[in-house]
């Protein structure tokens, strides 16, 4: 089967600082992949490269057979770390915005998720709390029928109760052919949903494995292995 995302010898430097080096990864379709590593290990850099927000210093990224560009942006659904919502739209306006620009946006499903979270469609984005903004953004991202979801710290800023909701939203809403990449350092919360894990350390891949192999082969939870590998 062809990989949805493939990168070879990927390298990104900012000035003299190496953010990523020699990264070779290949993600299959229909998997939930955890991109795990401490702060500053290159997780966000990797995701930004996949979104074409920055360009690689060396190496290549291929998403669904193409380099990052307009065509890949149409099939990649990206949740950035920070909120990108503007301050002049209502929730309904940003839904229409997504409906206008993304052919795969399912506005009915977005409305459904919104009402199940008890957020009003007429509410102004400006007046939403930080947590609610993150929920709206997650709805926007998950209501797309994308082929690849790139979620950068989707549970970083919300309380544990909301974390469970977000994870179940992710599991419920992605279709079986799609791949979900979740970057985080909160592993115990997310471990149960993952199929594969990638450990990033100082911009290099130190481990690439399925969760089953870690559990069965090493007899450890991913969280325990993470603590071992990244021991300070």
């Amino acid at each position: 089967m062809m990989a949805i995302l493939q990168c070879s010898n990927l390298e990104k430097t900012f000035g003299y600082k190496k953010a990523l080096s020699g990264v070779n990864l290949s993600f299959e379709k229909g998997r939930i992949v955890g991109l795990l590593g401490p702060n500053g290990s290159g997780k966000s850099t990797f995701i930004k490269l996949c979104n074409g927000l920055i360009t690689p210093t060396n190496g290549t990224i291929i998403i669904d057979g193409k380099a990052p560009g307009i065509e890949t942006k149409a099939i990649v659904s990206y949740l950035p770390e920070q909120t990108y919502l503007n301050d002049w739209m209502k929730v309904s306006d940003i839904f229409n915005f997504f409906d206008d620009f993304y052919a795969d946006f399912d506005i009915a499903r977005a409305r459904e998720m919104l009402s199940s979270l008890g957020i009003g469609e007429k509410e102004r984005l400006k007046t939403l709390s930080k947590g609610t903004k993150e929920k709206v953004q997650l709805i926007l991202v998950m209501a797309r029928q994308a082929k690849l979801y790139l979620l950068d710290e989707p549970i970083g800023g919300v309380d544990p109760a909301a974390r469970d909701y977000i994870l179940s939203t992710i599991i419920k809403n992605y279709n079986q052919d799609a791949t979900v990449v979740i970057s985080t350092h909160l592993i115990s919360d997310i471990e149960r949903v993952l199929d594969d894990v990638v450990f990033l350390k100082n911009g290099e891949v130190v481990l690439l494995s399925t969760v089953d192999d870690i559990r069965e082969g090493k007899g450890k939870s991913v969280d325990a292995l993470f603590r071992e590998v990244f021991k300070c």
Partner: protein
């Protein structure tokens, strides 16, 4: 996709501009009534308010031109805008076209407001009379008035394009630093203007332009105007291309969102 981007760009900016324009036009009509009825004090207050509004509109136009680029593209909103399935060119053009339209509409609204308020004044009558005199003079000399009008419009649009693209280039170049980007953009703005001053004065003193100047000055009146317009077009176009290419390069190759 450019059409969709333009739709949202006009929505985002129109909600700020339209109330300001409406307020200025209403105040102008009220002022006109006050001065017709010879209400001294209210008329002075009304004039002060309209002057504040006029200055406000020009300031607002500049601020929004800058802000729609820096905040929507280079700030956190950029994470959404640059992951839309649209070309960077479409993003730049949507901002440029919208900003140019609002700059022109602002000028028209302010001129209309002044005309409404000062219609009875001798000065405004004198201005209208002078304009018609100039047109009559050009007509007698065989000037093509519609063509000259068109050239004027093109010159205005091109110079607005060049100015706005210069602002965009300054803002985009500020992505090269990680702190104090506003200050950096302003510094780049100053540097660009100093460089263009140097180029202009070098061209004037080294005689590169003297031949051209003498040629143009020797032309009969209507043709001289056309020649001046063509020179203006070429200069503005060169500026547009330089600043566009610079902005595009920064947005596609050196994007560094906050």
């Amino acid at each position: 996709m450019l059409g969709k981007l333009l739709k949202y760009e006009f929505k985002a900016t129109g909600r700020v501009f339209l109330p300001m324009f409406g307020a200025l036009l209403i105040i102008s009509v009220i002022n006109r009534l006050f001065s017709n009825l010879n209400f001294k004090i209210p008329s002075i207050i009304g004039k002060i308010i309209s002057i504040i509004l006029i200055v406000g509109i020009f300031a607002l136009t500049l601020i929004i031109t800058i802000q729609r680029f820096s905040k929507n593209l280079l700030g956190s909103e950029g994470y959404l805008m640059f992951t839309l399935p649209v070309r960077s060119d479409s993003l730049i053009w949507s901002k440029l076209i919208t900003a140019t339209v609002w700059n022109i509409v602002s000028m028209i609204v302010v001129l209309t407001a002044i005309t409404i308020m000062a219609l009875s004044d001798i000065s405004i009558k004198f201005i209208f009379k002078s304009i018609s005199e100039v047109l009559r003079f050009l007509n007698i000399r065989g000037g093509d008035i519609p063509l000259l009008g068109l050239e004027t419009v093109i010159a205005i649009v091109l110079s607005l394009f060049a100015f706005i693209l210069m602002l965009y280039a300054c803002l985009a170049l500020s992505m090269l630093v990680n702190k104090r980007r506003g200050l950096c953009a302003f510094a780049v703005f100053v540097i660009i203007n100093v460089i263009s001053q140097i180029i202009t004065s070098l061209a004037a003193t080294t005689g590169v332009l003297r031949g051209l100047y003498e040629y143009v000055a020797g032309l009969p009146i209507p043709r001289m105007f056309h020649a001046i317009f063509v020179i203006v077009f070429i200069i503005e176009l060169i500026e547009c291309v330089i600043f566009y290419v610079l902005t595009r390069f920064m947005l596609t190759r050196k994007l560094n969102l906050e």
